[in-house]
């Protein structure tokens, strides 16, 4: 219990602090709304937010549906952090995965689900993996920093896929460019209106990644390269290979996130379905301290924000955008954990975002891992 508190205290207190500061913002902004100054508005708003996210079966389902891609996206970013890599490219890898799943799914729309669904899922996973391999390979081969290449590749993905939907795989009979219906390739709904198979899959992936990192030699290599690339090389590991592998695996997780969102929620690919999964994933990974279990909880929290916000807006007129503010504040307080420590007078052993320190080190002109051989 004490060990859990030691790693989880700062993230939890950062969330509490974010809610407090956001409450002040809600109170201040209430002055200019028709209802007028209302000191208790935050309580009402947070109550509605909670009710919307967890107050009903539908609410819980919505929370989980919104959380599922964030779980996988968070794992993608978190896995990169473990190897000292900052994968900002989850947004692009997510899109490529979603697109690949949509195209494969549409082509197999008439096939039986037991065939169509796995093929579409694998297509999405491979699409993401391929798009993660590119920056991984570039970093391993040339030392090109993944932050730069993945940001560029995010734009490349959007434009490339827009072209592909327009000119290569546009489905006939629609007034706008989009892929065809996925039919039998869709993820089966298990419960309620929308609780699709992708949700248990995402949770299973959490434990798979945890097993990989904690229990296997590959996970040990990934973590060692992240902590001390020189010691990794000295121990007979190949940091170059691990770097490329980790980016590929990270891209694959992002691709699976895209697939389940595509096959479980969206149903077709059309330009402009970008969404915020890519960047929310970074926040989720940071809040979860790159730990798979932590990422699971962080993703559920962020999913709850998305699911509960509409009810909050309807019942209290507090705009949905306030949750973006809360999310941003959470990350702000995580990065500036000194504030949290001062406010709550807690002692935490190590900086929250130790993974980012590794990234910062490579970013500040350090040589790529194992660069000289």
């Amino acid at each position: 219990m004490r060990r859990i508190w030691r790693v989880a205290s700062i993230p939890l207190l950062a969330i509490v602090l974010a809610f407090i500061v956001a409450a002040v913002i809600i109170v201040i902004s209430s002055i200019v709304t028709p209802t007028g100054f209302d000191l208790f508005l935050p309580l009402g708003a947070y109550g509605s937010l909670f009710a919307g996210a967890f107050g009903s079966g539908t609410g819980i389902v919505n929370t989980l549906v919104a959380a599922a891609p964030l779980i996988l996206g968070g794992l993608a970013v978190g896995l990169g952090f473990k190897a000292g890599l900052f994968n900002i490219g989850v947004a692009g890898q997510f899109l490529v995965g979603a697109f690949a799943a949509a195209v494969a799914g549409a082509n197999l729309a008439g096939a039986p689900t037991v065939l169509a669904l796995p093929v579409a899922m694998v297509a999405g996973a491979l699409g993401g993996a391929a798009f993660g391999f590119i920056p991984g390979f570039l970093k391993a081969r040339t030392g090109a920093h993944e932050v730069v290449t993945t940001i560029m590749l995010n734009n490349a993905a959007v434009l490339l896929l827009t072209w592909a939907v327009n000119d290569l795989v546009r489905a006939p009979g629609f007034s706008f460019p989009r892929t065809g219906e996925i039919g039998n390739s869709a993820l089966p709904v298990l419960l309620g209106r929308n609780l699709h198979l992708g949700i248990p899959l995402a949770v299973l992936t959490v434990f798979a990644v945890r097993w990989l990192l904690d229990r296997t030699t590959i996970g040990f290599e990934i973590r060692t390269v992240g902590q001390n690339p020189n010691a990794a090389r000295y121990s007979g590991m190949r940091p170059i290979f691990i770097t490329a592998l980790t980016m590929t695996l990270s891209g694959m997780l992002a691709g699976i996130a895209g697939s389940i969102q595509m096959l479980g929620v969206i149903g077709f690919y059309a330009p402009g379905i970008t969404g915020s999964v890519g960047f929310d994933s970074i926040a989720v990974a940071l809040l979860g301290r790159s730990d798979p279990i932590g990422i699971l909880f962080a993703a559920i929290l962020f999913g709850a924000f998305r699911a509960g916000a509409p009810l909050m807006q309807i019942e209290t007129s507090v705009p949905i955008e306030i949750i973006d503010i809360i999310q941003a504040l959470v990350i702000l307080f995580l990065a500036a954990d000194l504030i949290v420590k001062r406010v709550f007078r807690v002692r935490a052993d190590k900086p929250v975002i130790s993974e980012l320190a590794t990234v910062a080190r490579t970013w500040a002109g350090g040589s790529p891992p194992g660069g000289s051989t």
Partner: protein, 512 residues
């Protein structure tokens, strides 16, 4: 003695860590004005804890600290600094990308007209101070461009700049070359002459005898004796420190070299800056033989050992192990064939500081049986990893609360023992040792030297590189002298006299 109270008194200092370790037990220490007081003890004896208490980094459970006779409570380092205490840590607390001046004034910046940093004024003041102390340092140069010895002087400057009257140096010579050590001793003597009081932490007997006015010996958290250099010998101090008689000379017996195990021919390699650091090195080591490599640091020894283990790719030449060509083999292959390596820089190569001891003690064998198994051999076996750690901790007397504490929590000497314990495995063909006893106390050095001899007698070929010429001369069956990337002399042990080897190290002989 004068009537003046001592500059610093520590009385009855006791500290028990949450892990149960009694790091300090009723320690008394007295520092007089203008003296160099050596604190002598083994790795993990409690010297650093005591000094961390003095510097406000650790809160003692009991005891009193007096400065100039007045009882004080030191809550944090800022408190310590304001009371005139300066600390030079073993691992420097400098920011590599900032200049000397910026590092020195950090936290006490000189500002003008509000909040504008006046680095020019700072540089002038630092130059003056450096000149007074006899340092040759350009305040505008970046820390990362300085040698280790120069960085240490910046740390001292930093302390003096903050008006430190009591200067604590935690194992200052552990990272220095003999030349740099002599220079830092000059600095300390000058500081003493200026009236500073210095606590000098060390486990090197000869240094303590050379520099200290008084010596306090600590063993396992307790003061076990106080001496002055004039009334004691190295052997007496060693015995006091370790708690038993210690032999300071290696009893290496006769070696029985077998067939040639390692053959290096015409090896060339570049250093990190692209200069040719190895210019055609020939080296052969027989099974059961120790070849010592002597040389002033930076003459290609580092590149040679890195080429042997596979961390540096040779540009030409051959490396053969037991007849097989390994010139282009990966580190992994070489380790599989029976090469092990104790690197000089344990933080850079030898350890992952954030990992627990058990992971570190299996770090270079993580993929081997029994540490990995399961399907496809990728599942780690934590029981084997932990058992291995428990065994090695005991066998190599690593002072640690258990196999799960992070390597970063160990003292430098114990960290070195972790690396040595891991690399001294049983099924070896070639053991490459680069500064194997750096930072270790006499007891541990004796132990490791015995292990080296034992491995030699098992038939392992050993290459030993050391900045301590005595270590090379004591252990090696043959001594090679390296100079500017070449081997300039080979001596059988019985012909390797200190003067002859030393001269060749400095001049390179005829071929230079």
């Amino acid at each position: 003695m004068s009537d003046q109270p001592p500059v610093l008194e520590m009385r009855g200092i006791t500290k028990r860590f949450p892990t149960g370790t009694l790091a300090n037990e009723a320690i008394d220490l007295e520092l007089r004005k203008g003296e160099i007081h050596a604190l002598l003890g083994e790795n993990g004896a409690g010297k650093s804890t005591l000094m961390n208490i003095l510097y406000g980094l650790v809160t003692p459970d009991a005891g009193e600290i007096r400065i100039d006779g007045q009882p004080v409570v030191i809550r944090d380092p800022a408190d310590a600094i304001s009371r005139g205490i300066g600390m030079v840590h073993q691992h420097f607390m400098l920011i590599p990308v900032l200049s000397v001046a910026e590092n020195v004034v950090l936290g006490q910046e000189i500002v003008r007209a509000g909040e504008i940093l006046d680095l020019g004024e700072a540089a002038t003041r630092i130059s003056l101070l450096a000149k007074k102390l006899g340092f040759d340092i350009d305040p505008s140069s970046k820390i990362e461009q300085l040698s280790v010895g120069q960085q240490q002087r910046v740390e001292i400057l930093k302390a003096i700049y903050r008006n430190a009257r009591i200067l604590v140096l935690d194992e200052p010579t552990a990272v220095l070359t003999p030349q740099e050590t002599r220079e830092i001793f000059e600095v300390l003597r000058r500081l003493r002459a200026e009236g500073a009081s210095i606590i000098f932490i060390s486990h090197k007997l000869d240094e303590v005898l050379e520099i200290a006015d008084r010596i306090t010996v600590i063993r396992r958290g307790k003061v076990v004796g106080s001496r002055t250099p004039t009334d004691c010998t190295e052997n007496e101090l060693a015995e006091l420190m370790v708690g038993r008689a210690v032999s300071l000379r290696v009893d290496r017996g006769r070696s029985h070299p077998g067939d040639v195990m390692v053959e290096v021919s015409e090896l060339r390699a570049k250093n990190d800056r692209g200069h040719e650091a190895l210019q055609g090195v020939d080296l052969s080591v027989r099974a059961g033989e120790i070849v010592g490599i002597a040389g002033v640091a930076g003459n290609g020894q580092e590149e040679l050992v890195e080429a042997l283990i596979g961390l540096r790719r040779p540009t030409a030449g051959r490396i053969r192990l037991a007849g097989q060509d390994l010139t282009r083999a990966s580190v992994e292959t070489r380790r599989d064939r029976g090469i092990a390596f104790v690197p000089a820089d344990r933080h850079r190569f030898g350890l992952v500081l954030t990992y627990p001891l058990d992971d570190n003690l299996a770090l270079t064998r993580y993929a081997e049986h029994p540490f990995a198994g399961g399907f496809a051999g990728i599942v780690r076996n934590f029981r084997a990893i932990t058992e291995n750690a428990i065994r090695l901790i005991k066998e190599f007397d690593i002072r640690a609360p258990g196999p799960k504490v992070p390597a970063s929590s160990l003292s430098g000497g114990n960290q070195q023992k972790v690396v040595v314990a891991r690399e001294f495995r049983h099924d070896l063909k070639l053991l490459v040792l680069d500064q194997p006893t750096r930072g270790l106390d006499v007891g541990s050095i004796e132990f490791i030297h015995k292990q080296v001899i034992a491995r030699r007698d098992d038939g392992v070929a050993i290459v030993l590189v050391s900045a301590e010429l005595d270590e090379v001369l004591d252990l090696a069956d043959r001594v090679l002298v390296m100079f500017r990337g070449r081997v300039v002399g080979v001596f059988p042990a019985e012909e390797a006299q200190r003067e002859k080897v030393g001269l060749l190290m400095a001049t390179g002989g005829d071929r230079s």
